[in-house]
Amino acid sequence: MSHSTSEPLPDYRTQDPAVAARFAKIKERPVVLEIDRLGRQFPGEHGPVTALRDISLQIHRREFVCVIGPSGCGKSTLIRIIAGLDDPTSGRMLVDGKETSGPCPERGMVFQGYTLFPWLTVKRNVMFGLEMDGMSSAQAESEARQWIDLVGLRKFAENYPHQLSGGMKQRVAIARALAPNPRVLLMDEPFGALDAQTRAQMQSHLLEIWRNVDVTILFITHDLDEAILLADRIVVLKAHPGEIQEIIEVPVPRPRSLAQLQSPEFQATRRRLDELIHPKVHAPSDHLPIVRLTQIGDDVE
């Protein structure tokens, strides 16, 4: 918190003219994904439990939207419904203005657990979606090679997933999801299982890929910095029931890099997210009841 000492942080809604122009341009683009009053209830012991209520959202072409929220806010349910892996109990979903439901390659998905097919090589994994589409295997192979090049794994095209590191596996998963040319790429905490260093690397990889591909991204995370670093807009959900609390336009200019982490816009957005996600606890005595268990004379600290 280097900025807390000197001048006060700007308001997170204040946008640099360049950033404001960018948002104006995004809003002019056609809406790719529209969610209209989406709701999801699960049967519970004491009547139905509402996981999501009245979620409405419009995502424009080539926009990068992050969804964050406390655990139990239903962000995973939301992305699973959009992917078609779960059905909403109310509301509808439109892709390019057409109502749709069920899984479909126009909405590609990257899962936290990689879910690569372990019996297929990297190349065959990336070819999978293309072949499902009925493409001949020669054509699928040449297209798959381009996507593998894009994620920088040319040398590993003939390797099996178990021979790759976590970050490389997730790059294959991204290439595989992008290969059938989806309109929307859904990412469900894709970097959650990676160590901090690989995660930072993957974030810049993803921004790079997104710059080179015409795709709209909906990205779920619980990491606030990750959301600010990646997103144009951040959708903040609240729990019980899962509802949209606020949609924040990130004022940090692009191109983004980790160096912006200390910039005032970044810090202001970060503080706002903190307020939303971790509201002030009312009771001050929230310390853990820690009893000193170390031996007298133990002077490590």
């Binding site: 479909c104 899962f111 097919f117 999978f128 979606g129 499902m132 381009q146 996507w147 090049d149």
Partner: protein, 342 residues
């Protein structure tokens, strides 16, 4: 550095130690058998007559209980007649290793005792034929049905309760019925093996297919895979290594049912051979035949395991240490992204 312990909880052993213990696993029982066979004071409860003396009903070569024999000797001595003589011996049903070894060696060259009896290799061929057809027919129906049950809940609910019910009926109980239906030759025996393996097979295969990670199905769905593609391109390849292992284990069960199947109708195959040899009290041949079954089973299993490792290298990354090392070397540093358009 201290030498690693032989007994450390869930720690792997060096390859040389693994090999050594594997050899010992066979040598120790053999050693035990040898001790019991060759060291007279361990067991040897009988006396084998070498000289009948004046006891009219004894014949050289016959065996008698040690204490009974001692009584006869005492009786003969007190009566003043020539006492019988003999050496200590194990019961006839426990031949010494070298006897069984010789029987193994001569098993395929010994002529059958009766005309019409089969040679050992003919008996074995018959058994293998029974197993082959039984297991093939069972698998041809059981594996596809099991896959369907694993893939579709409706198929599972429609068939598994009944399969589960029949599974508890012992296959030998169908023996008389199968003879009535199929006659007395090969067919009822094959049927017993099918009944013994099929129902287990359906349940085992269905369970294996159900164990496939649901995430793979979801991933395939988001990539546009339809129902038949999910079964043929995801469930099947994902469960294939485990299915292969299931079949290996079930083949072992088929051998168990073989012995039952072969006494149904006209006794045949290796079981018939064993029963005949036991009747003639050629127990060394009995042991030899049982050992041959063991060897065939072990060899088949090892061969199948070897091919399994080759077929499903993606499942067993331990295959080549060199390749693993090279992979680790490369994966330590992630490749940078190239610039430019896709």
């Amino acid at each position: 550095m201290s030498r690693p312990r032989w007994f450390a909880v869930r720690q792997d052993l060096s390859p040389s130690r693994r090999r050594l213990l594997g050899v010992c696993a066979f040598l120790l029982p053999l050693l035990l058998w040898s001790i019991v066979s060759y060291v007279p004071f361990i067991w040897h409860p009988n006396i084998k007559v070498t000289d009948a003396g004046d006891v009219s009903w004894m014949r050289p070569g016959l065996q008698f209980d040690r204490h009974e024999f001692a009584k006869e000797v005492a009786a003969a001595q007190s009566a003043g007649t020539r006492p019988p003589a003999g050496i200590r011996a194990n019961p006839i049903y426990l031949p010494a290793p070298h006897d069984v070894g010789r029987a193994l060696y001569t098993a395929f060259t010994t002529k059958p005792v009766l005309k019409g009896d089969l040679w050992l290799h003919e008996s074995l061929a018959m058994s293998l034929k029974t197993i082959f057809w039984g297991f093939l027919i069972s698998s041809a129906v059981g594996v596809p049905l099991g896959i369907l049950c694993g893939a579709f809940v409706a198929a599972s609910r429609l068939s598994e309760p009944f399969v589960d019910f029949v599974r508890y009926m012992p296959a030998p109980a169908f023996g008389a019925l199968m003879v009535a239906v199929f006659g007395i030759h090969l067919e009822p025996k094959v049927a017993i093996i099918v009944i013994g393996t099929f129902f287990q097979q359906v349940l085992v295969v269905a369970n294996t297919v159900r164990k496939v990670d649901g995430g793979l199905i979801e991933a395939a769905q988001t990539l546009g895979a339809k129902r038949s593609q999910l079964v043929l391109r995801v469930l099947l390849p994902a469960s294939l290594p485990d299915l292969y292992n299931d079949l290996r284990i079930l083949l072992g069960w088929a051998w168990t049912y073989l012995i039952v199947a072969e006494v149904v109708g006209v006794s045949s195959g290796i079981t018939f051979f064993i029963n005949q040899q036991a009747k003639y009290r050629n127990f060394d041949n009995v042991y030899a035949a049982i050992l041959i079954i063991g060897f065939i089973g072990l060899a088949t299993d090892q061969i199948l395991a070897f091919f399994g490792q080759r077929f499903f290298a993606w499942k067993n990354p331990r295959s080549s240490r060199l390749r693993a090392f090279i992979t680790r070397l490369f994966s330590r540093r992630d490749q940078p992204l190239p610039e430019g358009q896709p």
